[in-house]
């Protein structure tokens, strides 16, 4: 008799365990509605509410489609998306960081969107610099649509420049005038509201370490890898001199060395608090700086006396970093038609795109959005389109993620450590903790060798990639 209760307990526990393991791939469909799952990262404050608010019109237009928004943290997103691609169990529509698009496309888990693109009028509806990730270099099809782009204007303190006698249009014209302007601010020893203002803020070894260097490398005519992604440019003289041009800000004391130990959020706060005159950050900073006091805005010196401007032009032109996110559909979706409708709404409906960009502060990828007075009439936002058009995306190769996250972030972090050191007395001797151009060159050479080996391995390990690359090389010629 005693066995019976134990058996029942075992059965209950077993069923409970199995129920706990039940997949969340599918949502219950009892009312005839098609239920979609949308994975997005926290791009705004209250991200779920924001997306639900934007989707009100979509739901009204498509009463037979229900959308469940799930917010996934940026830190977990890469794992979750790649796991979903390999397992075939994920959401229907999902957000994808632009530099991830090639890798995830190469994994073969994304739905081709060529037909949808044709129906909406072709890729020219998106700004040119946002198009390269739609169809990565080794891909046969369009696999994602650009949603928004991350571009980075320069923010400066209007009162500091006025006190130092500098005209912004002169200072931010080119690299030489920019350097001259920063030196003038330093020489003027500006003190405002009881605080000494340093000329420039640059963040140290955080997630953005390579993004910060990038415009100085390509702006000088250098690069990391070529557009086809099959040859390395990082150890070219122009790339090296671009890196040295960037490091000069620390070496000359134009940017405090202490910032080498701070992340972007900390240095951004230094700008708000009035301790730096010039700072470059993603365009969403404007949402914070422009927020009226009655809506919880900031009354800091940075918020009271700021303006945004295009970064200066380098010897090879103005070539800026561009990031952002695309939207894609998992191949495993059981609701292709509905998922395409949702993706098209979020990326090509100008009202939805504008609403999202107004709240997030990111720039739109949809070209016609820039015609809205929101962008044409605001003196800070009027430069967003130029920022987008002046940007140069990273090559859309599947191994860019490996290059950026493991090789570039490591070696450029090391370069910042070198920049923090005192000038080496004998540059030929590689003394730990001292600065010399030789030490920086050595670091870049090592990084370049590693990228070369990685590219070789990637191309060799995939014969299909090698064949496609050969075709692309012919077209390129």
């Amino acid at each position: 008799m005693r066995k019976l209760p134990m058996l029942m307990l075992g059965v209950i526990l077993g069923i409970g365990t199995l129920m706990g393991c039940r997949s969340r791939d599918t949502l219950p469909e009892g009312d005839g509605k098609t239920r979609l799952r949308l994975w997005a990262m926290p791009n705004t404050e209250g991200p779920k509410d924001v997306l639900d608010q934007i989707l009100v019109r979509f739901r009204a237009q498509n009463p037979d489609i229900e959308v469940e928004v799930e917010i996934i943290d940026w830190g977990a997103a890469w794992d979750k998306i790649t796991t979903a691609v390999s397992s075939g169990a994920g959401a229907d529509v999902f957000q994808l960081g632009t530099t991830w698009t090639s890798s995830v496309t190469a994994m073969g888990g994304l739905l081709p969107l060529d037909g949808l693109l044709q129906r909406i009028g072709g890729d020219s509806i998106f700004v040119s610099s946002a198009r390269s990730y739609m169809k990565p270099i080794y891909a046969d099809s369009i696999t994602s649509f650009p949603w928004f782009v991350d571009v980075r204007p320069m923010f400066y303190r209007t009162d500091v420049l006025a006190k130092a006698g500098i005209k912004p249009e002169d200072m931010f014209s080119n690299w030489d005038s920019y350097l001259t302007g920063l030196r003038k601010i330093k020489a003027a020893k500006v003190t405002l509201e009881g605080q000494r203002v340093e000329p420039l803020g640059i963040a140290g070894k955080d997630w953005n370490v390579f993004h910060n260097f990038y415009p100085w490398i390509v702006g000088n005519g250098g690069g990391i890898i070529n557009d086809l992604g099959d040859s390395v440019l990082l150890d070219d003289e122009k790339s090296i001199q671009g890196v040295m041009a960037y490091l000069r800000f620390f070496r000359e004391g134009l940017a405090p060395r202490a910032y080498l130990e701070k992340g972007a959020a900390q240095v951004s706060h230094e700008f708000d608090e009035g301790r730096i005159a010039v700072w470059q950050e993603t365009s969403s900073k404007l949402v914070y700086l422009e927020r009226p006091l009655r809506e919880g805005g900031d009354n800091s010196p940075g918020a009271r006396h700021f303006a945004a401007v295009l970064p200066p032009e380098g010897p090879a032109g103005r070539k800026l970093f561009i990031g952002g996110s695309n939207l894609a559909i998992f191949k495993s979706t059981r609701h292709r038609e509905a998922a395409e409708k949702l993706l098209a709404f979020l990326t090509t409906d100008s009202v939805a795109v504008l609403a999202f960009c107004k709240i997030s502060g990111f720039a739109p990828a949809l070209e016609k959005t820039f015609q809205d007075p929101y962008y044409r009439e605001n003196p800070n936002r009027v430069l967003f389109r130029d920022l987008v058009l002046s940007s140069k995306p990273y090559p859309a190769v599947p191994y860019w993620g490996d290059i950026e996250t493991v090789i570039l972030n490591k070696h450029f972090g090391n370069i910042l450590d070198i920049a923090a050191g005192n000038q080496a007395k004998d540059p030929s001797k590689d003394k730990e903790g001292s600065f010399s151009e030789e030490a920086v060159r050595k670091e870049l050479k090592t990084a370049a060798e590693q990228i070369r080996a990685l590219i070789q391995r990637e191309i060799q390990s995939n014969p299909a990639n090698a064949a496609r690359l050969a075709r692309l090389r012919q077209v390129d010629r």
């Binding site: 073969g108 080498l260 590693q450 080996a453």
Partner: protein, 319 residues
């Protein structure tokens, strides 16, 4: 042979019955994943064939079955290799210094605690850093070490060790000082654990042994050398074992201390676990990530075996 194995099982079948769920659990949770780890280290398992899982092809032709091991240990152009070389030296230094300092500070603290009243109160107070999660320690010390505004440089300035010019103050999170920026908080967090174990060890030593030695004319130093040290060896061996394993596998502290959570400690601040994590999970390079983990695990097994050989006789006395 089978009969010889079967006899003790039959003899103690009730005890084996109770042990069976634990043995099965150990097999499923420990042994199978270990075998799987070694298996993956022989595969060319990477981002492009992630969906294949354990069916991924074996490491490519020409490199041999141990290609992943050869690549991470010898190929200079392999990003994993270069990161691993820096990380191995940093981890050895980190583990040795943190374990040794925690050991001696813990011992000293435990001996001092024996001399003061309200032992429970002081022990609770001193153990507080140990209960702070390592990632919180990393985040907080990442702020403490800041050159211009961190509490460390501010304190050194207030004590007269640093001048007025802040630009000349030491940079703890960049360059060679990074090693100490990692080591000091790790000691701060870990020595209370050593103190706790040594305190417990001291409490197990019968007072009458000290009293007898005192009657025989042994002074304090002799009593410490001849009674305390030998009887504290079991506790000390556990402090050592825990210190070596825990510090060699240190992850949260370096990850959170550098670059606002980006874990980029640079040439002097990168430890093994963050390096393996970055190379394995940010690139989905499972084959070589597993190979690096197996190498680390074998190294740790060797250290544990060495530890057991050195302390076996002392541990057996505890039975």
């Amino acid at each position: 042979m089978i009969h010889r194995l079967w006899r003790p099982i039959r003899q103690y079948r009730v005890a084996w019955g109770f042990l069976l769920p634990a043995i099965l659990g150990m097999f499923l949770v420990h042994f199978l994943p270990l075998v799987q780890l070694v298996g993956i280290s022989l595969l060319d398992s990477r981002r492009t064939n992630l969906g294949l899982g354990l069916s991924a092809p074996a490491v490519g032709e020409g490199t041999g079955i141990l290609g992943n091991y050869v690549s991470i240990l010898t190929e200079k152009s392999d990003p994993f290799h270069l990161g691993l070389v820096d990380a191995v030296w940093n981890t050895i230094l980190f583990t040795a210094v943190v374990t040794a300092c925690s050991f001696f500070l813990g011992l000293l603290g435990a001996l001092l605690l024996e001399k003061v009243g309200r032992k429970g109160f002081w022990r609770t107070l001193l153990v507080a850093p140990w209960i702070v999660p390592a990632y919180v320690v990393g985040l907080v010390w990442g702020v403490f070490w800041q050159q211009d505004s961190g509490v460390v440089n501010q304190s050194l300035h207030a004590l007269g060790f640093l001048g007025e010019d802040r630009s000349l103050w030491p940079m703890w999170l960049s360059g060679p000082l990074t090693r100490w920026a990692l080591i000091l908080p790790a000691i701060w967090r870990e020595w209370p654990y050593a103190l706790l174990l040594f305190s417990l060890g001291l409490q197990t030593i019968p007072r009458r042994i000290y009293e007898a030695a005192k009657l025989d004319g042994a002074n304090g130093w002799v009593r410490f050398r001849k009674i305390t040290v030998p009887l504290l060896i079991p506790a000390g061996s556990l402090v050592l074992l825990h210190g070596v394993v825990y510090n060699a596998y240190s992850f949260n502290l370096p990850l959170m201390m550098f670059g606002a959570g980006s874990g980029n400690g640079g040439k002097q601040g990168d430890l093994l676990m963050p390096t393996i994590f970055r190379n394995t999970f940010q690139r989905w390079d499972f084959g070589r990530g597993a190979a690096a983990t197996v190498v680390l695990m074998v190294g740790m097994l060797f250290l544990v075996a060495l530890w057991y050989r050195v302390f076996r006789s002392d541990l057996e006395k505890l039975r």
